[in-house]
């Protein structure tokens, strides 16, 4: 081993204080990579063994101290668990030698210290940070299906107490330096960067032979140890709440808590061994792989515009037109003005347009009040939104997004009206969620510039935007739409035209299967709870209420295939009965599958309308019907060429309608379950529940060839949408 000068450098001053400066020349940020670890251990050992060195300061030359582990290294799956474990144990042994050498190490934090970065700082005896409220200090590993594997999972409860330590690890909360100091994550805060080194040197001079708390026999864990009455209470309630939040679907969380339980009962070196064993189990879990692939790599690449057609000039948007100032239009205006665009917000009446702007004013006021936004920024944002009723105001816009009522004729009228004033090379987008783009583009004189930009509600909170390519939409329009979505810092996925596109179509199967389960005698509570137990954020019946049953009816009525599809006509019949015979219209009307007003409760009469026998029901089958059905529809979208890539399907499902991330997403779910098992279940369900469970031949072929869903060859646009 040797020190890689492209990762860190060491300089020892005449005062006997050595400074390790981390500066990864190959990356934009410092990462806790395998290469870093070996260089650091090498450097630290040399300094420990050099009698002339009195103490060591660890700092970063980059704007961050360290951003965390190098997740790219995990793209190649770890196949040899034993080798990985042994490497982890070796790493711990080396770090412990440095910790216990009796020579002071001080971490100087001036910028984010996250994950492995914070663990590096915890290997030091003293942590000093500049008092910059933008600096984030914490353990975000749980968000990618991992937990701190460099000693942090144990050190957090040692330093913060069991309750706070558990929360820091399980919730991945970021701390500002001031909060980190209060939480005992760091030891000292200084005002400026220049104050760091003198403070560190002072501490070294005063503490020539420091001992870490976990090596100090007199040290007491704040709030009491694991076997104290308080500790026992925290563990018991913690486990209950962990299931409430995760339903046992996230092994990282269970394992992290297990490490704390088992590790806090033994000496620290042996506790690290426990951490390493559970970390190995976690990092090799399907769930971690899925969360890193979809949640970190996939979304990261999508946000950077991986779907953007190559070689197309950037399409900057200075001025945006929004047609229709309802819920969606108002939200689109806000996020666009937030990103710095001038926004012309048009509605039929000036009151309507102004009301759309008021929506932004409301958000700005709330955020300013909560100190999440500067007043100046908010004022400037609002000044960029221009309410109007005049179609001619769209003149000079780089892009127009139409968000009027879902009516083909109305949409055609506004298209024509707008194109009359909009520059011939400018992009016209529709925010429709149900009507095919190709159909809408028929009203356009320039269908090559016509595209779908499908937002989710509420626009300012939902991260996904589904870009829909019509038959004649060209690459320039696609690139422009992606540039726009990137500008408003959302996640773009690109799909080909189809009724319901990708997300609405799959989401529809979720609510539809929920309705059929109810119709077949599964109690409403079981449908809702099983969906949530498997990781859906809300049950299919609750979400149908949110969307409103009347809107559902309207969407089905406008679908020309209503009569032809046995599934849709069955759904239509039941929904119509609920709406028309029983007045159950949805949440807004105060009466849907649930009763509203007081505490939200399932409508008791559901049990009379749909008779059930709980003892004969298999909740595993209920669970499979809820998730498999969505995955099967997602696969059809892939098979038909609606989706451009598997990862887009995964991202869309996770960020669009809340498909659980531990599965990787609606397509990775097929691998998660196992292709053969998935097909066998669908075949059984087809027999029992009807043709909607028919498995496309291409999936059978893929699985028969022993391949993963990620090996599926996606159709080209020409194949997918023959003219």
């Amino acid at each position: 081993m040797a020190i890689d000068k492209n990762i860190l450098t060491v300089e020892t001053g005449s005062d006997g204080i050595a400074i390790i400066t981390i500066d990864n020349k190959n990356e934009s940020t410092n990462l806790f990579s395998f290469d870093f670890i070996s260089s650091y251990i090498e450097a630290a050992n040399e300094l420990v063994n050099n009698p002339a060195v009195k103490g060591v300061i660890v700092q970063s030359a980059k704007s961050m101290f360290m951003a965390g582990a190098d997740l790219k290294q995990l793209e190649k799956p770890i196949t040899d668990k034993e080798e990985f474990l042994n490497n982890s144990l070796q790493m711990h042994k080396s770090f412990r030698e440095i910790e216990k050498a009796g020579k002071p190490f001080v971490a100087c934090i001036d910028g984010h210290a996250l994950g492995g970065g914070l663990e590096l700082a915890m290997i030091c005896h003293h942590r000093i940070s500049t008092n910059n409220p933008k600096t984030k200090i914490g353990f975000p590993e749980i968000k990618v299906g991992l937990f701190p594997g460099g000693g942090g999972t144990l050190k957090a409860p040692y330093l913060m107490g069991i309750q706070n330590g558990l929360m820091a690890v399980l919730q991945g909360t970021n701390h500002t330096p001031a909060k980190a100091l209060k939480a005992n994550l760091i030891n000292e805060v200084v005002e400026t960067t220049e104050d760091l080194i003198p403070a560190a040197k002072k501490w070294i001079a005063e503490n020539p032979k420091p001992v870490q708390p976990w090596d100090n026999k007199k040290y007491k864990i704040p709030g009491g140890g694991l076997m104290s009455p308080a500790g026992a209470q925290v563990m018991m309630g913690g486990i209950g709440n962990l299931r409430k939040l995760t339903h046992g679907n996230y092994p990282a969380a269970t394992n992290a808590m297990t490490v704390i339980y088992k590790g806090l009962q033994v000496p620290f070196d042996r506790a690290l061994e426990i951490e390493a064993r559970y970390f190995t189990d976690t990092i090799t879990s399907k769930e971690a792989k899925n969360m890193i692939r979809t949640g970190f790599m996939g979304i990261g690449a999508a946000k950077k515009g991986i779907a953007r057609p190559k070689g197309v000039e950037p399409y900057p948007i200075k001025k945006l037109g929004v047609l229709g100032a309802g819920m969606m239009g108002a939200g689109i205006a806000y996020v666009s003005a937030y990103a710095g665009m001038e926004v012309v917000l048009k509605d039929v009446t000036i009151e309507g347009a102004q009301k759309g702007k008021d929506y932004s004013t409301g958000i700005v006021n709330k955020r300013v009040e909560r100190k999440k936004m500067e007043q100046d920024f908010g004022d400037a944002l609002l000044a960029r939104i221009h309410p109007t009723t005049d179609p001619a105001a769209m003149d000079g816009c780089d892009m127009v997004i139409e968000a009027v009522f879902e009516n083909l004729d109305l949409k055609a009228t506004v298209t024509k009206e707008t194109e009359a004033v909009l520059g011939a090379d400018k992009i016209y987008a529709s925010n429709t969620s149900t009507i095919p783009i190709t159909m809408l583009a028929k009203a356009s004189d320039r269908p090559e510039n016509f595209i779908g930009i499908h937002f989710f509600s509420p626009v300012d909170k939902m991260p996904l935007v589904e870009i829909i390519v019509g038959e004649k939409t060209n690459d320039r329009a696609i690139a422009a739409a992606i540039d726009y979505v990137m500008a408003i810092r959302k996640i773009p996925i690109v799909v080909n035209d189809s009724r319901g596109f990708y997300t609405s179509r799959c989401f529809g199967t979720f609510t539809s299967e929920g309705l059929f389960l109810l119709d077949e005698g599964v109690p409403a509570a079981m449908i809702e709870n099983v969906a949530k137990t498997k990781g859906m954020p809300v049950g299919p019946l609750a979400v149908s209420d949110e969307v409103s049953l009347t809107l559902g009816l309207h969407v089905m009525e406008s679908n020309p295939d209503l009569e032809k599809s046995p599934e849709m006509s069955r759904n239509y019949k039941i929904t119509k009965m609920l709406v028309e015979e029983h007045g159950r219209k949805g949440k807004k009307a105060g009466a849907g599958f649930y009763e509203y007003g007081g505490k939200k409760k399932l409508w008791p009469k559901l049990a009379e309308i749909f008779k059930s026998d709980v003892e004969t029901l298999d909740k595993e089958i209920v669970a499979k019907r809820i998730l498999h059905r969505q995955a099967l529809e997602a696969f059809r979208c892939l098979d038909e060429g609606v989706l451009h890539s598997v990862v887009d399907g995964d991202i869309g499902s996770v960020t669009g309608w809340g498909f659980p991330i531990y599965t990787g997403g609606a397509l990775s779910y097929i691998d998660f379950v196992g292709g053969a098992a998935f097909i066998a279940d669908c075949d059984e369900f087809k027999e029992k529940f009807g043709p909607r469970w028919d498995v496309p031949q291409s999936l059978r072929d893929l699985v028969a060839a022993g391949k993963s869903i990620h090996d599926f060859e996606v159709k080209s646009k020409a194949e997918a949408m023959p003219a």
């Binding site: 076997m227 026992a232 563990m235 018991m236 309630g237 913690g238 486990i239 209950g240 709440n241 962990l242 299931r243 409430k244 939040l245 339903h247 046992g248 269970t254 394992n255 808590m257 297990t258 339980y261 088992k262 109690p523 409403a524 509570a525 079981m526 809702e528 709870n529 099983v530 137990t533 409760k601 399932l602 709980v614 029901l617 909740k619 209920v622």
Partner: protein, 401 residues
């Protein structure tokens, strides 16, 4: 195979298991020792023939640590030859001790044993022995572990027992205990004494003569906050998704009282009884345990009872009297309804809701109470059963000799 006979059973009075309880100054070792001494005095027992003491005890730490059965055996003055073993089958421990002793006798391994249990819940708090079942996430998460009170409320929700139903049951438990006390029916009970021989407690301290259905109706549910804050309602619903929520019906007045107490039984072969000149009171016909889902946890009495009845070739209606531990009101109610047992056969003199449930001892207490009542009513057959933490049930069938 030999038969196992119960020659006698004695128990202490039960004191409230909190800092105001009468017995907080009396250690569990003293409670068990006083039972042993009472048994010897009552029968002028030749203790040389007693081989071993098997005691159930749940929280085996502090005062109850280091094998309390041997500790009490040593204190009892029975002689150095007397051994002691402590076991833990949670709430079924006292009955488990009887069953194990009976099995030793039936097998011929032993001739004469003492079996029973002890728990000082005022001195050693419930749960103070920790344990992985609820605290180790790698065990508790897959196990869907929840505290017993939530399980009891889950049973009430799932099987449709309302707050009024369980309160009414609890009221009758208190009234039956009051009547039994007035009628001096607890003939095998001994007063707990201090070091001077002065009586510390001469009755079951928790019995409340002035209990009414209305007063019970005014009590706050004990497990609602725990169910919400601890996430345990959600854990229960993960396992029983057909329920929209948990109806928290149990409270301090319709759950077993936390108390201190001890009980023992003398169990031996026919020959051992003859050698001592003792007349057997009952014969142990059969015994069984049965495991259930750990989340609902407390439904074990029905399958365990069905199992033991099958073993001895009897049906539920062949049993004259039942003792079904009142851990929570819903537990005996569910078994009553599952097995169509008439209420007058169940817990004739009240139960743990009125008199308390000293965890390790209760199984043996119920056995003593059952034998006393069978004799008083001059009936033949009885069944003792208890629900048990972690999802178990235990049941034993006896017959008068």
């Amino acid at each position: 195979m030999a038969e196992a006979y119960i020659y006698d059973a004695v128990r202490t009075t039960r004191g409230r298991g909190n800092k105001k309880g009468a017995l907080i100054g009396i250690t569990p070792t003293q409670l068990a020792t006083q039972c042993l001494q009472e048994l010897r005095a009552k029968h002028d027992l030749n203790t040389d023939l007693v081989e071993d003491v098997i005691l159930g005890c749940v929280s085996q730490v502090m005062d109850q640590g280091a094998n309390i059965a041997k500790t009490a055996a040593q204190q009892s003055g029975y002689g150095d030859h007397l051994c002691g073993v402590t076991l833990n089958r949670f709430c079924g421990s006292g009955l488990e001790a009887i069953n194990q002793a009976s099995a030793y006798v039936k097998s011929g391994f032993s001739q004469l044993l003492i079996a029973g249990g002890v728990e000082s819940m005022s001195r050693v708090k419930m749960g103070s022995d920790g344990g992985a079942m609820l605290m180790d996430p790698s065990v508790a998460m897959p196990g869907h572990a929840i505290p017993q009170g939530i399980s009891a409320d889950l049973i009430a929700t799932k099987y449709g027992y309302s707050r009024a139903d369980v309160d009414e049951f609890a009221y009758h438990s208190q009234m039956k205990a009051v009547a039994a006390e007035k009628d001096n029916r607890f003939t095998s009970r001994l007063d707990v004494k201090d070091v001077n021989g002065i009586t510390v407690l001469d009755r079951d301290e928790n019995v409340r003569e002035n209990t009414t259905v209305e007063s019970l109706g005014g009590l706050q549910p004990s497990f609602a906050i725990m169910g919400e804050m601890g996430g345990f309602d959600a854990v229960a619903i993960d396992r029983y998704p057909e329920l929209e929520g948990i109806n928290h019906v149990h409270h301090a007045g319709n759950s077993s009282a936390i108390v201190d107490g001890a009980a023992i039984a003398l169990i031996g072969s026919k020959e051992a009884g003859e050698a001592l000149g003792l007349k057997p009171r009952a014969i142990v016909k059969g015994a069984a345990v049965y495991g259930t889902d750990p989340t609902i946890m407390l439904t074990g009495p029905t399958p365990a009872s069905e199992k033991v009845l099958k073993q001895v070739g009897m049906s539920a209606s062949d049993i004259d009297l039942y003792e079904i531990n009142e851990a929570f009101a819903v537990v005996p109610m569910l078994m009553r309804d599952n097995m169509n047992i008439p209420m007058e056969k169940i817990n004739f003199n009240g139960g743990a809701i009125a008199m308390g449930h000293p965890l390790g001892a209760t199984g043996c207490i119920l056995m003593g109470t059952l034998i006393d009542e069978l004799e008083r009513q001059d009936k033949q057959t009885g069944l003792v059963t208890l629900c048990i933490g972690g999802g178990m049930g235990i049941a034993t069938v006896i017959e008068r000799v």
